[in-house]
C-alpha cells in the first residue's frame, strides 16, 4: 500500500492508454478500465482496487518496454533518410517505440519491425500521408519505404554517413572502452537488464558481455581475500 502512495507520477489516463497495449488486455478489460477511468480515476493512480491495480501494473509494464527498447534498440540508417530497427517486443508496443524514436530522429522516417507487426512513423510535417506499405518480407517493406522517401524527401546526408561497416566500427570502439580492472557485472545488469539485452537485439553488447563474463570465470581474482 505504501508504495502506491508515491509511485503515481503519471495520470490515470496515461496508465490506461499504456495498459491498453498490454498483450493480455482484452476488449472486455479495456471497457471496464475505461469505465473506471471515467468514474474513479484515483483507483488507477493509487492502485487501491483490484482493477485499478491491474491497469496500473500493465501500464507500467508497457511503458517500461517502450522506455527500454527505444533507448537500446540499434538502428540501421539508409541514405534516403530512413532508419530501420528491429526488436522482439512482448506487448503491442511497436507503434509507441517507433513514435518515440521519431521524436528523437525528427528528420527521418522510422521503421520498427517488432515480433508480430511493424510501424512506419515520422515526425516530418513536409511529407504526404504514407501509403499502406505491404510486403511479404522485411526487405520488401524497407525497399518500398526507401522508394517513397527518395521521391518525397529532398534533404539528406552524404552517402559516407551510411556506410555498411558502422556496426563493426562500433564493435571495435566498444571493446576499446572496456576497463578490465573495473569489470562490474552487477552494475551492467542494473543499467541494461537482461530483458533489454534480449529484446532490443543488442548483438554486439551481448556478445562482448558474454565473452567478458566467460573470461572472468576462468581467472578468479583474490577479491574475497582482501575484503
Amino acid at each position: 500500500m505504501f508504495r502506491n502512495l508515491f509511485g503515481c507520477s503519471l495520470s490515470a489516463e496515461e496508465y490506461f492508454n499504456a495498459a491498453s497495449y498490454h498483450k493480455e488486455s482484452t476488449n472486455d478489460l479495456i471497457i471496464k478500465a475505461k469505465f473506471l477511468l471515467e468514474t474513479k480515476p484515483f483507483e488507477i493512480t493509487t492502485g487501491c482496487s483490484d482493477l485499478g491495480k491491474l491497469v496500473k501494473k500493465r501500464g507500467n509494464a508497457v511503458l517500461r518496454e517502450v522506455h527500454l527498447l527505444s533507448a537500446y534498440m540499434r538502428l540501421k540508417p539508409y541514405s534516403e533518410m530512413v532508419l530501420v530497427g528491429e526488436c522482439n517486443n512482448e506487448h503491442d508496443t511497436c507503434y509507441l517505440i517507433a513514435k518515440s524514436l521519431a521524436r528523437r530522429f525528427d528528420r527521418f522516417v522510422i521503421i520498427v519491425f517488432a515480433s508480430k507487426s511493424f510501424s512506419v512513423v515520422t515526425n516530418r510535417t513536409d511529407l504526404p500521408e504514407f501509403p499502406k506499405f505491404r510486403g511479404s518480407s522485411k526487405q520488401t517493406i524497407i525497399e518500398k519505404v526507401r522508394c517513397f522517401a527518395k521521391q518525397t524527401i529532398k534533404d539528406g546526408f552524404p552517402k559516407e554517413f551510411f556506410n555498411e561497416d558502422g556496426d563493426s566500427l562500433w564493435e571495435k570502439y566498444y571493446e576499446t572502452q572496456f576497463l578490465e580492472q573495473r569489470l562490474n557485472v552487477k552494475l551492467f545488469r542494473k543499467f541494461i537488464p537482461k530483458y533489454a539485452l534480449e529484446k532490443a537485439n543488442m548483438k554486439i553488447e551481448k556478445e562482448f558481455y558474454e565473452k567478458v563474463v566467460e573470461q572472468r570465470k576462468e581467472k578468479h581474482t583474490l577479491d574475497f581475500f582482501f575484503d
Partner: protein, 387 residues
C-alpha cells in the same frame, strides 16, 4: 578502424556522465541534447559510454607519468601516433548517432605542437560537426592545459560542456608527475576563464574537472581541499570526477576491486558536499590523521556517529535537512517521508520504511519510530573507524 581503436583506447580513462544540456534544439538539425530517459550504451564495467569518447590526436608533448600518450610512455609502450580529420570525426559521430549507439561526442586531444594549435584543430572539428552537418546533439570538449582565452572562447561557443583536467590537487603534487606543465600557468589560469564564460551564457551544461587518484603521493585531504574550493561560487564547477590511476602494463590488467575503494569514498564525500549540503569543515572531520578517508566505513555513518545530539531521530517529525543526515536515507526517500508527514500518515513499522526506499541496515540505529529506537546503538558514542 585502427585509428578508432588507438584514439578510442587513449580516451577511455576520461569520465563524463552528463548527456543533456539546457540549450534549445535547432529545428532541421540532427540530434537533440535535451534531457531524456536512460543512456544508450553501457560497458560491462558499468560505465556509461553514451558519448563517443575519442582523442583527435594521441600525439602529446607532455610527459605526465600516468598518461599513456605522454612522451615517456609512448616510447616505452611503442604506441603509434595517429589523428582524426574533422570530416572523419563528423562521419563517425553522426554514423553512431543514427545507429542509436551514442547521444553525443566527448572530444579530447593530446597536445600536438602547442595547446593553441591543437585547440584550433578541435575547434575546426566541432565547427564541421555543428555547422556543416548540423549536428545538434551533446558535445563535451576537453580544454587543453595552457590554452589561450580566445581559443577557449571559440570552443565554448560550440560545446555544451567543457572540462579541464586538474589531475592533481596542488602545485607540488602536480610537479611530481609532470615536468613540462605548470600547475598555475597551464591549469589554474585557464580554469579562471571558465566562470566568466558561464556568466555570459556560453557552455550551457557547465564545466567539470577530473583528478587522477594515486598518481603522486597526494592525500585525500589535499584532494578534498581542492575539491571544496572548486565547488564554491568563485569557481562554480558543475561536477568533479575521480579516476584511479591504473597501471599501464598489460600484465596488471586484473586486480581486486577493493583497489577502487579510495575513489569510491571520494565520490561519497563529493556527493555529501553537493547533494547533502554538508559543510567542508564537517566533511574534513572524516579524514584521519594521515590525511586519508577511512576505507572501511561509509563517511555518512562516520558523520552521523559524530553528531550524537540529533540522533536517534523521530522519523515522523523530522525535517528534510535532518532526514538527509541519516545514513540510508537519500533525497528520494526523504521527500517520500515528508509527503507522508504532510498527509498525516505515521510510520510505525520497519516494513513501511523499507517500502519507501530507506536502507534499513544503515538507517535503523539512527531512527526512532514512535517512542522506540529500532536497534541498539552499539558503539554509538564511540568514534570508531579512525576518526
Amino acid at each position: 578502424m585502427e585509428k578508432l581503436r588507438i584514439l578510442g583506447e587513449a580516451a577511455k580513462y576520461d569520465i563524463c556522465a552528463s548527456t543533456a544540456s539546457p540549450r534549445a534544439h535547432t529545428p532541421g538539425s540532427i540530434g537533440k541534447a535535451v534531457s531524456t530517459g536512460i543512456c544508450h550504451s553501457f560497458l560491462p564495467d558499468g560505465r556509461c559510454i553514451s558519448l563517443l569518447k575519442v582523442l583527435i590526436t594521441n600525439q602529446c608533448i607532455h610527459d605526465c607519468t600516468y598518461c599513456i600518450n605522454s612522451t615517456k610512455n609512448r616510447k616505452q609502450f611503442k604506441h603509434s601516433i595517429t589523428s582524426f580529420e574533422p570530416e572523419e570525426l563528423a562521419r563517425l559521430t553522426i554514423g553512431f548517432y543514427l545507429r542509436n549507439y551514442i547521444e553525443g561526442l566527448f572530444l579530447s586531444s593530446g597536445v600536438g605542437k602547442s595547446a593553441n594549435c591543437q585547440a584550433e584543430i578541435i575547434h575546426e572539428a566541432l565547427h564541421v560537426l555543428r555547422n556543416k552537418y548540423k549536428f545538434d546533439g551533446y558535445v563535451h570538449a576537453k580544454v587543453l592545459p595552457g590554452i589561450g582565452k580566445d581559443e577557449l572562447l571559440r570552443i565554448g561557443e560550440l560545446a555544451d560542456r567543457v572540462s579541464i583536467n586538474v589531475e592533481l590537487p596542488n602545485k607540488s603534487r602536480f610537479s611530481e608527475t609532470c615536468s613540462t606543465k605548470d600547475f598555475y600557468s597551464d591549469i589554474i589560469k585557464v580554469t579562471k576563464y571558465l566562470p566568466e564564460m558561464r556568466k555570459k551564457g556560453e557552455i550551457p551544461a557547465g564545466y567539470t574537472t577530473q583528478y587522477v587518484i594515486g598518481a603522486a603521493k597526494e592525500t585525500d585531504k589535499e584532494i578534498l581541499d581542492s575539491v571544496f574550493d572548486f565547488y564554491t561560487d568563485d569557481w562554480d564547477f558543475r561536477r568533479q570526477y575521480y579516476s584511479t590511476c591504473l597501471p599501464l602494463e598489460e600484465k596488471s590488467r586484473s586486480f581486486p576491486r577493493s583497489f577502487f575503494l579510495r575513489e569510491h569514498r571520494l565520490y561519497q564525500i563529493d556527493w555529501l558536499r553537493r547533494i547533502y549540503k554538508y559543510s567542508p569543515d564537517e566533511l574534513m572531520n572524516v579524514v584521519n590523521d594521515e590525511g586519508f578517508i577511512p576505507l572501511k566505513i561509509d563517511p555518512k555513518v562516520t558523520l552521523a556517529r559524530m553528531n550524537t545530539e540529533i540522533f536517534p531521530l523521530d522519523i515522523n517529525c523530522a525535517t528534510y535537512d535532518e532526514l538527509m543526515r541519516v545514513p540510508g536515507i537519500g533525497h528520494t526517500s526523504a521527500m517520500r517521508v515528508l509527503k507522508l508527514q504532510q498527509q498525516g500518515v505515521k510510520l510505525k513499522k520497519n516494513l513501511q520504511l523499507k517500502s519507501i526506499g530507506i536502507v534499513l541496515k544503515r538507517a535503523l540505529p539512527f531512527l526512532k519510530i514512535g517512542s522506540k529506537t529500532q536497534l541498539t546503538l552499539d558503539n554509538f558514542n564511540t568514534t570508531k573507524g579512525g576518526v
